[in-house]
C-alpha cells in the first residue's frame, strides 16, 4: 500500500476513524480515575576508576544494561521479597547515564513511594556488588579452586592427625625418640615400688599374726565376763556365804553335828551352780569383754593393712606388666606413627604451597577490584519521590491504542468492502491498464 492509497483510505473511512476516536476519548475520560498514581525513586551511582588505570571488564556504557539485567533484578527481588514478577520489575526499572559523565541514575516507578525508594536503592547496592563480581570473576574462579584444594588438604591433615592421635593414645611414648629408655626407667621404678610394697606387706602380715586373738578366752576376759554377769555373781555370793557358814559350823561343832552333812551338800550344790553359771556366762553370745573386743579390733585393722599392701603390690605388678607390654609394642606402633608423621609432613608441604598460591590469587583479585568500582553516590530518599505521571503515560498509551483501533477499523472495513475503487483493482480485474480517471472520487 502506497502513501496515497493510505491517505485515500483514511479519507474514505474518516467517519469510522472519527467515530472510534470519539468513543475512545470518551471512554478514556470516563475511566481516567481508574489509573492509579505512581511514584518514582531515583538513586545515583558513579563509576570510579583508578587514576591512569582502565578496568577491562566494564565501562560506563555497559552499566545501564547491567543495572537492568535479570541477574541484578532477581537478586533485588529476592532480597526485598518483592511480590511482583521479574518482568514487571524490569519494565519499571530505568537506568541512564547522565550526559557524558560517569554518573548513572537508577529509577524505579511504583504505586508505593516506599517501594519505589527501596527498590531504587537496592538496585544501586546490588549493582555495586555485581560490578565487583564481574571485575574479579576470573580471579574468583582461581581462588575458589584453590580454596577447594586447600580444604581437601586440610581434611587429609585432619584425618592424619586423628590417626596419629589414636596411635599416641595407645602408646604415648612413640612421640619420643627415647621411648624405650623411658619405658625401661618406668619399669625399674615400678620394680622398686613393688619391692617396697612387698616388704611392707610382709611386715604387716607379721604384725597381724601377732595381734591375732587366742582361741580360748584370756583370764582377764573371763574375769571381765564373769564379773559383769549378775547371776554368776549371785551364785558366787550365796556359795561364799554358805561356805563361810559351813566353816563356822565345823569350827563350832563336831563332825557329829547333824546339820553338817546338809551344809556340805548345800555348799557342793552351790559350787556346782557356780560352775554352771560360769559356763553359761562364758558361752553367752552377748557376753562382753572390753579387752577381748580391743584385741579383735586391732587384729582386724592389721588384716586390713595387709590387704591394702597386697592390693598395692598387685597394682604395681599390673603397671609393670603394662609397661613391659608397651615396651614390647614400641617397634610396631613406632613404625606406624613414623609413617603417619611422614605423610603429614608431605601434606603440610602441599598445603603450604596451595595456601601461598591462594594468597597470590587473592592479591591479584584485590588488585583487579581496585581498578574500578561502582559507588552509590546518592541514595533515593523520601524527598526525591515525585509524581511520576502514570496517568499521562497511561493516557498516551490509551490514545495510541484508540488510534490503532480507529485506523484498524477503517482498514478492516476497507478490506471487507467488495467495491472496486482503485485503479490497481481495476487493472487486476480486467488485465487492462487504466489510462484516465474522470472525477475526484475515481
Amino acid at each position: 500500500m502506497t502513501v496515497q492509497q493510505f491517505i485515500d483510505t483514511v479519507k474514505r473511512r474518516s467517519i469510522i476513524i472519527w467515530s472510534v476516536l470519539a468513543v475512545g476519548l470518551a471512554l478514556m475520560y470516563s475511566f481516567r480515575g481508574a489509573v492509579p498514581s505512581s511514584f518514582a525513586g531515583v538513586s545515583h551511582v558513579v563509576l570510579v576508576a583508578e587514576s591512569g588505570a582502565r578496568d577491562p571488564s566494564v565501562s560506563i556504557v555497559d552499566l545501564p544494561s547491567i543495572a537492568t539485567s535479570t541477574v541484578v533484578l532477581q537478586r533485588v527481588r529476592n532480597s526485598l521479597k518483592l511480590p511482583i514478577s521479574l518482568i514487571n520489575l524490569k519494565s519499571n526499572v530505568s537506568a541512564s547515564v547522565l550526559g557524558r559523565s560517569s554518573i548513572m541514575a537508577i529509577g524505579f516507578r511504583d504505586q508505593s513511594a516506599e517501594r519505589a525508594i527501596s527498590v531504587s536503592n537496592a538496585v544501586s547496592d546490588e549493582l555495586s556488588r555485581y560490578y565487583d563480581e564481574i571485575s574479579t570473576q576470573r580471579y574468583d574462579v582461581n581462588v575458589n579452586r584453590l580454596s577447594t584444594a586447600l580444604q581437601t588438604e586440610a581434611d587429609k591433615l585432619h584425618a592424619l592427625d586423628v590417626a596419629m592421635s589414636g596411635v599416641v593414645a595407645t602408646n604415648p611414648f612413640v612421640v619420643s625418640d627415647r621411648s624405650i629408655d623411658t619405658i625401661t626407667s618406668q619399669i625399674a621404678a615400678l620394680d622398686d615400688q613393688r619391692a617396697a610394697a612387698l616388704a611392707q606387706l610382709q611386715g604387716d602380715e607379721a604384725l597381724a599374726d601377732t595381734s591375732a586373738p587366742d582361741a580360748a578366752l584370756s583370764k582377764t576376759a573371763r574375769h571381765e565376763i564373769l564379773g559383769g554377769d549378775p547371776a554368776y555373781q549371785a551364785a558366787l555370793t550365796t556359795a561364799a556365804r554358805d561356805s563361810a557358814q559351813l566353816v563356822s559350823d565345823r569350827a563350832s561343832y563336831t563332825k557329829a553335828f547333824p546339820g553338817l552333812p546338809g551344809e556340805l551338800a548345800k555348799v557342793a550344790s552351790e559350787n556346782a551352780s557356780i560352775k554352771r553359771e560360769a559356763a553359761r556366762a562364758l558361752t553367752d553370745p552377748n557376753a562382753y569383754s572390753p579387752s577381748a573386743a580391743g584385741s579383735r579390733a586391732q587384729h582386724i585393722r592389721a588384716l586390713a593393712i595387709v590387704a591394702g599392701d597386697v592390693a598395692r603390690v598387685k597394682q604395681v605388678d599390673d603397671l609393670a606388666g603394662q609397661e613391659r607390654a608397651t615396651l614390647n609394642a614400641v617397634p610396631t606402633i613406632g613404625a606406624k606413627y613414623s609413617q603417619l608423621n611422614a605423610e603429614r609432613s608431605a601434606l603440610e608441604t602441599e598445603y603450604t604451597a596451595l595456601a601461598t598460591r591462594r594468597a597470590n590469587a587473592l592479591a591479584n583479585r584485590a588488585e583487579a577490584s581496585s581498578l574500578g568500582s561502582v559507588v552509590v553516590l546518592d541514595r533515593a530518599i523520601k524527598a526525591d519521590t515525585q509524581l511520576a505521571g502514570g496517568r499521562t503515560r497511561a493516557a498516551i498509551v490509551a490514545l495510541i491504542f484508540v488510534l490503532g483501533i480507529a485506523f484498524g477499523a477503517a482498514f478492516l472495513v476497507e478490506s471487507l468492502d467488495p467495491r472496486i475503487k482503485r485503479a490497481e483493482e481495476i487493472e487486476e480485474l480486467y488485465g487492462i491498464p487504466v489510462v484516465a480517471t474522470f472525477g475526484s472520487k475515481a
Partner: protein
C-alpha cells in the same frame, strides 16, 4: 441535483486521453467506448473524448444511442419519424466542418431494433470516410446490441468503469467479447458517480440550448460542453 465538478481537471484529463489516443491510433479511426454495465459512464467518456478530439481540428463524429438519456416521449413522438429515420440512417445528418468539428449521430432504439448489420457497418464506414475519428458510445456491451454490432467495425476500444461499484458477471462477459474482436484495447477509463450524474444532468438540460425535438445530429457542430456552458450561464447557474 446539483453537482460540483472541477471542469478544469475534467478537461485536462480528457486532453491527456486525447493525446494518448492520437499517439496510439492514427486517423481515420473508429473508437468504441464500451463498458460492462450501462452505469459505468461510457456515454460520458465518449462525449468528452469526441468533444476533446474536435477541439484539435479533428473532424469527429459521435455515434450514440443516448436518446435514452433524453425524455423518451420526445424521441418516440409520431410527429418526428422522418427526422429520426434520416438521422439514424445518416442520410441528412452530417454537420461536418472542414476544419474540425463534432457531429453527433444518434440512433433511436426503434431503429436500432430493425437496422441490419450491413446498414450499421455502412453507416460507420460513411462516417469514417468523412471524419478523422468516429467515437461510438457503446456502454453496457453484454446487453447492448448497438455496441455488439459496432464491435467488429472498431479500430480501438476504450473501457469505461464506474469507480466504487462491485464486480459483476458482466465484467467477465465484456472481457470475453472484446477479446474476440481484433480491435486494439487502449485501456480503462475510471469514472466516478458524481461526474456521471453531472454529465447526465447536462444531457437532460440540452433544452433550451438544443431543441429536444431535433435529432442531435442536426445540432450545431459546436462543442457540446461549450453549448452547455452557454446554456447554463443563461440560466444563471455555475457550471
Amino acid at each position: 441535483m446539483k453537482h460540483r465538478i472541477a471542469t478544469d481537471s475534467l478537461g485536462r484529463e480528457f486532453r491527456l486521453l486525447r493525446n494518448r489516443i492520437e499517439a496510439e491510433i492514427h486517423a481515420p479511426a473508429v473508437l468504441l467506448v464500451t463498458s460492462a454495465t450501462d452505469r459505468d459512464g461510457a456515454g460520458l467518456t465518449a462525449y468528452g473524448l469526441a468533444e476533446s478530439l474536435s477541439k484539435t481540428h479533428q473532424r469527429t463524429a459521435l455515434l450514440t444511442t443516448s436518446a435514452t438519456a433524453l425524455p423518451a416521449g420526445e424521441w418516440s413522438s409520431p410527429a418526428m419519424p422522418s427526422q429520426r429515420r434520416r438521422a439514424t440512417d445518416r442520410l441528412e445528418a452530417g454537420n461536418t466542418t472542414v476544419e474540425g468539428g463534432l457531429s453527433i449521430v444518434s440512433i433511436s432504439h426503434e431503429r436500432l431494433a430493425t437496422i441490419s448489420r450491413s446498414s450499421i457497418a455502412a453507416l460507420v464506414q460513411g462516417l469514417r470516410a468523412e471524419h478523422d475519428y468516429v467515437v461510438i458510445d457503446g456502454g453496457g456491451l453484454p446487453d447492448n446490441t448497438f455496441g455488439l454490432l459496432l464491435l467488429a467495425s472498431a479500430d480501438a476500444i476504450l473501457v469505461a468503469f464506474l469507480a466504487g461499484r462491485q464486480q459483476v458477471t458482466a465484467d467477465r462477459t465484456m472481457l470475453d467479447t472484446i477479446e474476440k474482436s481484433e480491435a486494439k484495447v487502449l485501456g480503462v477509463v475510471m469514472n466516478d458517480q458524481e461526474t456521471i450524474d453531472h454529465f447526465n444532468d447536462r444531457v437532460q438540460k440540452l433544452d433550451p440550448g438544443v431543441a429536444r425535438n431535433v435529432t442531435v445530429s442536426k445540432a450545431p457542430a459546436t462543442p457540446l460542453v461549450q453549448r452547455l456552458e452557454v446554456a447554463l450561464q443563461r440560466l444563471g447557474k455555475s457550471f
